[in-house]
């Protein structure tokens, strides 16, 4: 009798422990819950390019003016730069206009009024964080993780590569006059470069 009670009690304990140790949920529910908390980098990037940036035209500095200040007063020039950290690589949102002098598979070269060095609009390799960081409008504090912020950079570059550049490249030719807004990356500890590479954000042929 005692043995019977002992084994029954043990069985009940094992059943209870087993029941409370295992939770079964539908995979679709788990996936849906995970998706609800997923950051939509592509949507964020689209909104940034279409809404946020156009709403802040004052954030873009005149590229020809910046180029002069970089030579005469670098400290003042870099005071208009942005970055997610306080390191040597700094980013600017720039605007200007110029005439196309040459087109190749990687760049469209511009002669910008008031600038001695050529401006190269990147058309093939859209890489780095200039598009994200140039305006200073995106801050790491907005995001739960740095991975989310970095995925915004990738989505912005993808949008530029697939939607900003192709319609422009299809029609651009030497001699055209171009209005541009873009982002550049410069290093504080180096002299002003011989040419300036611009990641394009908005391009129009006049």
């Amino acid at each position: 009798m005692k043995k019977w009670m002992k084994y029954t009690s043990l069985g009940v304990v094992i059943l209870l422990a087993g029941y409370n140790s295992i939770y079964i949920r539908r995979l679709s529910e788990v996936r849906a819950a995970a998706k609800a908390g997923t950051f939509e980098a592509a949507t964020y990037a689209r909104h940034f390019l279409d809404v946020t940036l156009p709403a802040h035209p004052d954030k873009a500095v005149d590229l020809a003016g910046l180029s002069r200040t970089l030579t005469t007063d670098p400290a003042r020039a870099f005071s208009e730069s942005h970055a997610q950290n306080d390191g040597n690589n700094r980013f600017f949102l720039v605007k200007g206009s110029g005439r196309i002098t040459r087109v190749d598979s990687e760049y469209i070269y511009l002669n910008v009024e008031g600038m001695s060095q050529p401006v190269m609009l990147a058309t093939r390799y859209i890489i780095g964080t200039a598009a994200r960081d140039g305006s200073g409008l995106i801050s790491v504090d907005e995001f739960t993780t740095t991975m989310e912020m970095n995925s915004v950079s990738e989505e912005l570059n993808k949008l530029i590569r697939t939607q900003v550049v192709p319609p422009f490249v299809r029609v651009a030719k030497a001699g055209d006059r171009v209005l541009f807004t873009g982002a550049i990356e410069l290093q504080k500890n180096k002299a002003a470069p011989d040419s300036l590479e611009v990641t394009p954000l908005n391009l129009n042929i006049q």
Binding site: Q84, N85, D86, G87, N88, N89, R124, Y125, I127, G128, T129, V140, D141, F143, T144, T145, T146, M147, N150, S151, S153, E154, N157
Partner: protein, 311 residues
């Protein structure tokens, strides 16, 4: 003795007692993911040194890359009355619970180097900007391999955000060049011995490689050992990340191609300083503070020493 004098003396005595209680030296716990990697030893010891300079006692806890052990450390730290935690997490998601536990107990947590997936749990998070650094490493890799060749990637711990920030930064550049083909991508958990084993195994299947990108220097050194044993070290370009002592020596000796210098001294000292400021009443800390990371190669190796820049 007049009553006024008695009241004054009593007040002074009480003030003295109260002041004495408030002067209990603050205790700072330093919980790090692993002490099996010299980089984290340096991070922990620097944090302890800075805490000492600021007048606090401290103790280092080694989580041995084990979230359960890390959780035990948090329980211990909370139970034994520590006043702040300088924390290097084992797992971006799994460590959030531990940080919340400390927060609920009124203990501020200051993350060092590694991130947790929460903006609210930690008081501040001081993090290397791994993504930006790996964009620069990716550019250097493309230049070094002249835009073509087969390469291998060794990932760190897959539950750590640094692993993916580094990998994604690198790929955001390298994937634009169709001539560069990744023939294998495997995790070696930021561990030198594991990296050597993984690399040996990969070389069996893919003997014809030109480059290896590793998520930290320990894995880069392990990969280098495997390549040396296979007689391929002279040809294959190996890139690491951290700025650890052996990697810096290796670049000087013409072995590793490059690394990215994190600044653990700055990270650890900032975390300890944040704790000090918290004790003094500050509450508005930057939730995430990315610290710049710099590419180190044979071109600029003379400017650097282990874990930092030459002073």
């Amino acid at each position: 003795m007049r009553p006024v004098t008695i009241v004054l003396l009593t007040s002074l005595l009480l003030m003295g007692c109260s002041h004495g209680g408030g002067r209990r030296p603050k205790k700072v716990a330093i919980i790090v993911s692993t002490l099996n990697n010299p980089w984290f030893v340096f991070l922990a010891e620097t944090a302890a040194k800075k805490a000492g300079e600021l007048g606090y006692s401290s103790r280092i806890f080694d989580s041995q890359n084990n979230t359960d052990l890390e959780s035990n450390h948090f329980d211990n730290v909370i139970a034994t009355g520590y006043d702040a935690i300088l924390f290097n997490p084992t797992d971006a998601q799994g460590s959030v619970t531990n940080v919340k536990k400390a927060k609920d107990a009124g203990i501020p947590v200051f993350c060092m180097d590694r991130e947790i997936n929460s903006k609210e749990a930690a008081t501040s998070q001081i993090l290397s900007d791994s993504y930006s650094a790996c964009i620069d490493l990716g550019k250097l890799f493309v230049r070094t391999l002249h835009k073509k060749g087969n390469y291998v990637e060794l990932l760190g711990i897959v539950s750590d955000n640094n692993t993916w920030n580094r990998s994604k930064g690198f790929h955001s550049v390298v994937d634009n060049y169709p001539g560069l083909k990744m023939v294998a991508q495997q995790s070696a958990d930021f561990d030198r011995n594991k990296a050597m084993e993984v690399m040996e195994s990969i070389l069996q299947a893919h003997p014809d490689i030109d480059g290896v990108f590793c998520g930290n220097d320990a894995m880069a050194m392990g990969a280098w050992q495997a390549l040396t044993a296979a007689g391929k070290a002279g040809h294959v370009k190996v890139i690491g990340f951290d700025g650890a002592e052996d990697a810096i020596h290796s670049i000087k000796d013409g072995k590793l191609t490059a690394t990215a210098m994190q600044f653990p001294k700055r990270i650890a000292e900032l975390a300890a300083t944040d704790a000090d400021e918290y004790f003094k009443g500050k509450r508005d800390f930057a939730k995430k503070l990315p610290i710049p990371v710099e590419v180190v190669s044979s071109e600029n190796i003379d400017n650097y020493t282990a874990y930092g820049k030459k002073e």
